[in-house]
């Protein structure tokens, strides 16, 4: 056996280029697996631990106003184990040196002691002092971007009154792991903050003494959240309850869950591609090795080695390659996992990241790789083991060739002999050719799959912020206001246009299906806010009836012409029957849209508006912001341009990371497949090519024959890779379809170009390396030996 191991070592050394290429493909698979699974585990554990340690609530409800003693009745609801009341308010902030509108969610904390649910992890500073009505704790992400430290202060407009707030501490909360403004698609740390303040101070400002407008609860084990929520809604309805919801509908938690889903799908698909490619490459290489070593195998058998030892010898060859791949992949996966973890920590605010390396992740990655590799090489190894010695002494029968389809079609005349050689080689083993093409195609597919989120995001941003929203500023009022307020806005210096809107929270119902969302009253003939039909063409809101987000329509199973029940969750809480007039496309959120006058009529509320879309002269924008901060009835303002910018800023690092990884991995696959095909083909055909050299063909001419075949495989693979890449994108996007957002499967020409370029460059590189060998063919040796 020892001698065989020497042979193994030398054989591997001789084929080190190919072995390394396969090692890298396996390493890529193991790396993506370890990276994605470990990151997912780390985020899961971190989240669960944070939720548990800081007592993240399980049921949430907001309402208009309820006396404190209602809390007692909430606690009596069967299934509720604990309930804690709070006062929550939306405020505007005025930050020195930052002229844009900033809004914040202000949440009360008990004056004395700490809250029981949604406890804060104080990163710096201290809790607010019991007797201070101007101290706040600010969310860490917000403090970081504005470089706030405890002791710093900023202005706030609380219920119309300007007040200076002093930062006592900087904290994280399980409730705001993802700190994102309602209705926004990504966290905005610059323009949205979460602040915590003493209950008394906040109640005083909002006239909520002895009352609350927000309640968070935990459930006793075994309670059904559905039932609890129904009971709570019944109980809180008369206090202006906006509908209770469980953890799964809590914003921050929802986004986390969606992100984990994407990680999970990626963890399934990408490693599978790499391992499949690696198994294919191993199959090709080991088959070829067995073929070239026929005579050696025969000799070994003649000396008395049994089938098992011969089989084991080749299994060992596979294992050495796979194990080196697993080792490289694990190290790279762990290293990149920490990087990805850090990126997620920027995005999601956890107090700590519990990145622990589970041996089981590496073990399972290893076992899967080994199993796939052995399955891929089973046939070749079996063939080696069972080779009858006498037959093995004879060279393999020569390959059979036929005329190609092209020639049967009578087009043979246009082909030169070298081109014929290329085509017949390709046709000779169509299965192998197809696998090679598929292998290279997977390289571009991986690239497209890895870069697809960037294109999808670009497209969503374009639809959401350029076609749907066209305003410069969105202004929301503290509460529904007369339309006169819009005229006032329009009169402000620099404001060019103002279009009113009305947003009404509502429960939409059809049959037994329902959805809690908002109905937006839209200004007919508006230019700043347009609705888009399912083909993304602008459409006008009808004068009667409601338009629904296409996804919402599907969720409710409702058709055009059906009557929809709209339970308004505001004011007099009317229950309205509205005919569905059509569907609109929206990638973010779910909504119903009506003509603002029609909505006002149904609500019997005159000309109430919730806010307005403004277009404004660039030069006056900061003056306008200032006025809006000071305007008491304005709850907040959002600048569209800034929102887009922020969106890209928060996504940029993650996108860059994934593009980087995809490029490397796609390049490795392309290189691995092309290089291996080239080397195998070189070993099969060096004799033929050397003969041609002897006959007077130049290096360039034989390179054409040889590399032409690779070029053909590569070029054919690219369109196939585009299709497969699209398939991967569809698979990932389908996993993410939810009421929060729908990912459009849009792949930009740039991405296709990039994928094709990476594949071509990798193919050229491996071509060049092999070309180098081609230039050093031993012309004399080839004449002396039989094939």
């Amino acid at each position: 056996m020892k001698v065989l191991d020497h042979k193994l070592r030398r054989d591997l050394w001789r084929m080190k280029g190919q072995a390394l290429a396969i090692c890298l493909v396996i390493a890529s698979g193991v790396c993506t697996y370890v990276l994605l699974i470990s990151t997912m585990h780390a985020l899961n554990i971190t989240r669960d631990r944070f939720y548990e340690d800081y007592k993240f609530a399980e049921v949430f409800s907001s309402l208009k106003r309820a006396p404190e003693n209602v809390a007692e009745r909430v606690r009596e609801v069967p299934g509720i184990s604990y309930a804690e009341t709070r006062v929550v308010a939306q405020v505007k902030l005025d930050i020195k040196g930052f002229p844009e509108p900033v809004t914040a969610k202000l949440v009360s904390v008990p004056d004395v002691g700490e809250q029981v649910l949604n406890r804060l992890f104080i990163r710096r500073g201290r809790p607010v002092a019991p007797d201070k009505d101007n101290e706040v704790i600010v969310s860490e992400a917000f403090a970081d971007v504005h470089r706030f430290s405890p002791g710093d202060s900023f202005g706030a407009v609380i219920n119309g009154r300007w007040k200076t707030l002093v930062i006592a501490g900087i904290a994280l909360s399980p409730e705001f792991v993802l700190q994102s403004r309602p209705g926004s698609i990504s966290p905005d740390y610059k323009r949205y903050a979460v602040l915590w303040m003493n209950r008394t101070a906040l109640s005083t400002a909002y006239d909520m003494k002895g009352a609350f407008n927000d309640i968070v609860m935990t459930m006793s084990g075994g309670a059904s959240s559905g039932e609890v929520i129904t009971r709570l809604d019944e109980l809180l309805e008369r206090y202006g309850g906006l509908g209770a919801y469980g953890r799964k509908d809590q914003m921050s938690n929802r986004f986390l869950t969606e992100e984990f889903k994407q990680l999970q799908r990626s963890a399934r698909i990408f490693p599978a591609i790499f391992i499949a490619v690696a198994a294919f490459l191993l199959n090709v290489v080991i088959s070829r090795t067995v073929s070239t070593q026929r005579e050696q195998i025969a000799a070994l058998k003649a000396f008395g080695y049994d089938n098992f030892s011969i089989g084991l010898h080749y299994v060992k060859m596979v294992l050495v390659i796979v194990i080196i791949g697993i080792a490289i992949g694990s190290v790279a996966g762990i290293w990149l996992g920490r990087g990805l973890g850090r990126i997620y920590m920027e995005f999601y605010r956890f107090p700590y990241l519990m990145f622990e390396l589970r041996p089981s992740v590496i073990t399972s990655a290893g076992l899967i790789s080994i199993a796939a590799a052995l399955a891929g090489t089973l046939y070749a190894v079996r063939r080696a083991a069972l080779l009858p010695p006498a037959e093995a002494m004879r060279p393999e029968p020569p390959s059979r060739y036929r005329k190609t389809v092209l020639e049967h079609l009578g087009l043979g005349g246009i082909l030169s002999q070298p081109t014929r050689i290329i085509l017949r080689n390709i046709e000779r083993s169509p299965f192998k050719t197809m696998l090679s093409i598929l292998g290279i195609a997977l390289a571009s597919a991986v690239l497209i799959g890895g870069m697809f989120s960037k294109d999808a995001i670009d497209f969503m941003v374009d639809v959401q912020f350029r076609q749907h929203h066209r305003e410069d500023l969105t202004v929301t009022f503290v509460e529904p206001t007369s339309k006169k307020a819009v005229f006032e806005l329009k009169r402000m210096l620099g404001v060019e246009e103002a279009e009113p809107f009305r947003t009404v929270p509502a429960q939409l119902q059809f049959g037994h299906k329902s959805c809690r969302t908002t109905v937006e009253g839209v200004h007919r003939g508006g230019r700043l806010y347009r609705l888009l039909d399912v083909n993304l063409r602008p459409i006008e809101v009808p004068s009667s009836g409601i338009l629904l987000t296409e996804y919402l329509g599907r969720m409710l199973g409702i058709k055009v012409g059906d009557m929809l029940t709209v339970d308004v969750l505001e004011g007099g809480r009317p229950e309205l029957q509205v005919r569905v007039a059509g569907f609109v496309k929206q990638y973010i959120g779910l909504m119903g849209f009506m003509d603002i006058y029609a909505l006002n009529r149904l609500m019997k509320e005159g000309s109430a508006v919730s806010g307005a879309y403004l277009s404004a002269d660039q030069n006056y924008q900061s003056a306008i912001y200032r006025r809006l901060v000071e305007a008491p009835r304005v709850a907040g303002a959002v600048v569209r341009r800034e929102e887009i910018k922020n969106f890209y800023e928060t996504q940029a690092e993650a996108l860059l990371f994934f593009t980087f990884i995809a490029t490397i991995l796609g390049g490795i696959i392309a290189f691995g497949v092309v290089y291996n095909s080239a080397r195998i083909s070189l070993s099969e055909r060096s004799r033929e090519l050397a003969s041609l050299r002897v006959l007077g063909y130049t290096r360039g001419e034989i390179s054409y024959i040889f590399l032409g075949e690779l070029a053909f495989l590569t070029l054919v693979s690219i369109p196939l890779g585009f299709l497969l890449g699209r398939g991967i994108c569809v698979y990932i996007a389908a996993a993410l379809d939810s009421d929060l957002f729908r990912i459009p499967v849009v792949i930009q020409a740039d991405t296709y170009t990039y994928a094709a370029t990476v594949v071509l460059v990798s193919a050229c590189l491996s071509g060049l390396i092999v070309r180098h060998r081609l230039d050093h063919l031993d012309l004399v040796a080839v004449l002396k030996t039989k094939e």
Binding site: P397, Y401, Q417, R428, E688, R693, T698, L783, K784
Partner: protein, 245 residues
Amino acid sequence: MENASPENKAGRKTVFHTQGLTKVYEMGDVRVHALRGIDLDLYAGELVVLLGPSGSGKSTLLNILGGLDTASDGQVSYLGKDLTRASERELTEYRRYHVGFVFQFYNLIPSLTAVENVAVVTEIATKPMDPGKALAVVGLADRLDHFPTQLSGGEQQRVAIARAISKNPDVLLCDEPTGALDSETGIVVLEALERVNAELGTTTVIITHNVDIAGMADRVVHLSNGLISTIDINTRKRAPRELHW
């Protein structure tokens, strides 16, 4: 390149001229002297057999004459042109336009038919004959569209000869052309070579370790241990049919 071809005293054109030709292979730490100083002239239109046991240096000599290998020392010229100093590119051109090779193991391209295997050479030659005609010369006019796997060894070797002569080479170099064939088939192949030599006047060099084949040569060069031991001149050339082994 000097175009004035040197001629010997008898007025025959000298095709190859070697002087003190030496070839040393470095095989690891061992130096193998394959040729130890060969002085030889080969003349236009003659058929020369290089005879010698294995390891005598005959293949090395043929490879150097054919521009496949370069000498370690000494000189070799083809029609007055120094091959010792030729670049890789010049050697490729030399092989492409002047030399026809026939190998022991035929070295046909498996993916091309007989006629295409010939065309592989005629496509890059300057004054080729028709591939079909070349195959007719070697008696394979009816096997044009067969792939190598569909041909016998002798037929494959005749395709190789057709390929070699199809460019109308100035010299035909054959390394053990019958080495892989039985005697009956070998004779057919030798007849083809003889015909080419006689009809086209191509200078032909055949390597063999088979003494019997020497009978068909104009001159027989005996090599032993990297040196020419003797050169015999056949006064009566025998036809391949008369040869036996």
